[in-house]
């Protein structure tokens, strides 16, 4: 019963390509939305449940992508060990960074994570020998899953959606586990959580590492799917977009984050037709949603419908 929402979501994801196998919006935009969902769901664990903002999450996304790209193109590794190495690197960096950085609060934490993201981005641009510099690295081989090379939009849709459903399922279970309850306690009041015997430092470190792992995982898939990586895909704007997805959908709700990721991906696709007006509309929409629906689209709308439902005339 607890996972009913998940099964409905999985069924929709599985049915879409059956109904529209050649629709660009389903296969290509859908795959891109799927990667964003992985990223947003991971970031939501950190932001929504543990209450820690991160304006540098694109760095972990980039670490996964560059680990896969560099190891497969320059060293001829298979994709899976390269993906695992990407996870290991991002996880280790997150683990090392977690204690000093998560001691900070509010705007100081925002600043520190933002700075971390910019430092990683500068390294991607400057360490030309490894990363190819601003031009990026091309020719990343297709994802090789134990001999099966993933090719074509439809196959990629399948792989990314499977990965996405896995992360959504993991997130839903994590939130309802003991770790998840500890996180929510930390969000409510760190002091009270500590009094209840929760090791705050450990809880925050765990969630930071998990959300970095989600991001690196998405990064590896992204590198193989695009066959190309460049620093532009992992800059500050991307980090801000990820935060926006989480907040837009509604914090502390896995489906809210997923909803925000899908909405923002579709919005970008939709706004392309406005060309130069895209930025103005994008900025205005962002402000409007945050002003009028501060709890986010998913949470705000679902509460709104519940309230309307309660107000219905009783006959």
């Amino acid at each position: 019963m607890r996972l009913v929402g998940f099964y409905v979501f999985a069924a929709v994801v599985a049915l879409l390509p059956v109904l529209f196998p050649t629709n660009y919006f389903v296969t290509v935009v859908g795959a891109s939305a799927g990667l964003h969902v992985i990223l947003a769901v991971g970031l939501n664990l950190l932001m929504g449940y543990a209450g820690q903002i991160s304006l540098g999450h694109a760095a972990f996304f980039g670490m996964g992508a560059y680990a896969s790209a560099i190891l497969t193109t320059r060293f001829g590794w298979y994709s899976l060990p390269a993906l695992a190495t990407g996870l290991l690197i991002a996880g280790t960096v997150a683990w090392l960074l977690a204690r000093p950085i998560l001691r900070l609060r509010g705007h100081y934490l925002a600043m520190a994570t933002l700075g971390f993201g910019i430092i990683v981005h500068v390294i991607m641009v400057q360490a030309t020998r490894w990363t190819g510099g601003p031009d990026g690295l091309a020719g990343v081989p297709p994802l090789n899953l134990l001999g099966w090379a993933v090719e074509g939009d439809l196959q990629w849709y399948g792989v990314i959606m499977a990965a996405m459903l896995l992360t959504v399922w993991l997130s839903l279970n994590l939130v309802d586990s003991q770790v998840g309850r500890a996180l929510r306690a930390v969000h409510g009041s760190e002091f009270a959580a500590q009094m209840m015997g929760i090791d705050i430092g450990r809880a925050k470190t765990q969630v930071f590492v998990v959300s970095a792992l989600f991001a690196a995982f998405a990064g590896s898939l992204f590198a193989h799917q695009q066959a190309f990586v460049s620093p532009d895909s992992f800059n500050l704007i991307v980090s801000v977009e990820l935060v926006t997805m989480v907040v837009l959908g509604g914090m502390a709700s896995t489906f809210g984050a997923a909803c925000g990721a899908i909405a923002l991906t579709l919005l970008h696709q939709g706004l392309v037709v406005f060309e130069d007006y895209e930025m103005v509309i994008h900025g205005a929409l962002l402000m409007a949603v945050m002003i009028f629906l501060p709890q986010g689209l998913f949470v705000g709308l679902s509460q709104g419908t519940r309230r309307l439902w309660a107000m219905r005339p009783k006959s």
Partner: protein
């Protein structure tokens, strides 16, 4: 070697003054409303771009500069009225996204008005470099330094000497108490936004002859100003000024002595180190958490 070092110092203090002005703007708004305004860099860009456009339209430079500053102040007031006021009481993350949305919006407007090209102002008083010791100094750098010192002293005097400044300060200490003694908090909020937009615009006009301006020019400047405010201890205006100068110096030295490509990384690494060892900034006071 020493001459080179002196040259880096001059560059560092010039850039640092700019960061100081932007950081001061951050601190003013934060003090008045607990909001970190991520559109602060866009005020700098708007100041520079409007001044350039007005100059090209035939206005003399001083008039163009004043008109551009007034235009930015108007934008600051509109931002406060239509984006910040309706969202009062929202969480930190929500206000961050609102101001980021405002920044994207303003960048978009600049793109529509002035295109993607790079523009510059002519130097205020020629570009014949002045030799000072072993280093060369552009006259424009002296303008930047002089006007920054003047503006910072004015802001200081405003807070210390005038009733209006003290009222604004009172709002930052305790908004409810300020309201109770008869201060119109809403007006103070608008004052803070106008003031900080004006400071940002003037910074943009000062630097426009040295670095080219474009619709995207505000992004990095805004972030550096935010860093300056954080390093100085957020909400401490003079701390932000000191933080800005420090950051500019460090960046110039890092670019000159280590690597120019890594200068942004060096600046932010410094910010991270400050935060790791002094989590409330260099000049910020410790805040006891209310349980």
């Amino acid at each position: 070697m020493l001459e080179q070092f002196f040259q880096f110092l001059v560059t560092g203090v010039t850039v640092g003054s700019l960061y100081a002005l932007v950081g001061l703007g951050f601190a003013l708004i934060y003090n008045a409303s607990d909001v970190v305004n991520f559109a602060q860099g866009e005020f700098v860009m708007l100041g520079a771009m409007t001044a350039i456009a007005l100059l090209n339209a035939g206005l003399p430079l001083p008039l163009a500069a004043i008109a551009a500053t007034l235009a930015a102040i108007l934008v600051g007031l509109l931002l406060e009225r239509f984006a910040i006021e309706p969202a009062q009481g929202a969480s930190v993350v929500t206000t961050i996204i609102i101001t980021i949305g405002a920044a994207i919006f303003l960048r978009g407007v600049a793109l529509l008005l002035w295109g993607k090209g790079f523009h510059a102002l002519p130097p205020f008083s020629g570009d014949a470099p002045i030799r000072l010791g072993g280093a060369t100094v552009l006259p424009q750098s002296l303008w930047v330094l002089g006007v920054t010192v003047l503006l910072v002293s004015l802001v200081r005097a405003f807070f210390n000497r005038t009733l209006l400044g003290k009222a604004l300060l009172a709002c930052s200490f305790n908004r409810a108490a300020a309201q109770l003694v008869g201060i119109n908090v809403r007006v103070m909020l608008r004052l803070a936004y106008g003031l900080s937009a004006g400071l940002g615009a003037m910074a943009g006009i000062l630097i426009a002859p040295i670095t080219f301006s474009s619709y995207e020019a505000g992004v990095m400047l805004g972030l550096k100003g935010f860093s300056a405010a954080i390093v100085g201890g957020i909400g401490n205006p003079m701390g932000a000024v000191a933080g800005g100068v420090l950051l500019g110096l460090l960046e110039a030295l890092g670019a000159g002595l280590i690597s120019s490509g890594y200068k942004d990384a060096i600046a932010f690494l410094f910010v991270l180190m400050v935060l790791f060892f002094q989590p409330t900034g260099l000049f910020g006071h410790k805040v006891a958490e209310r349980v």
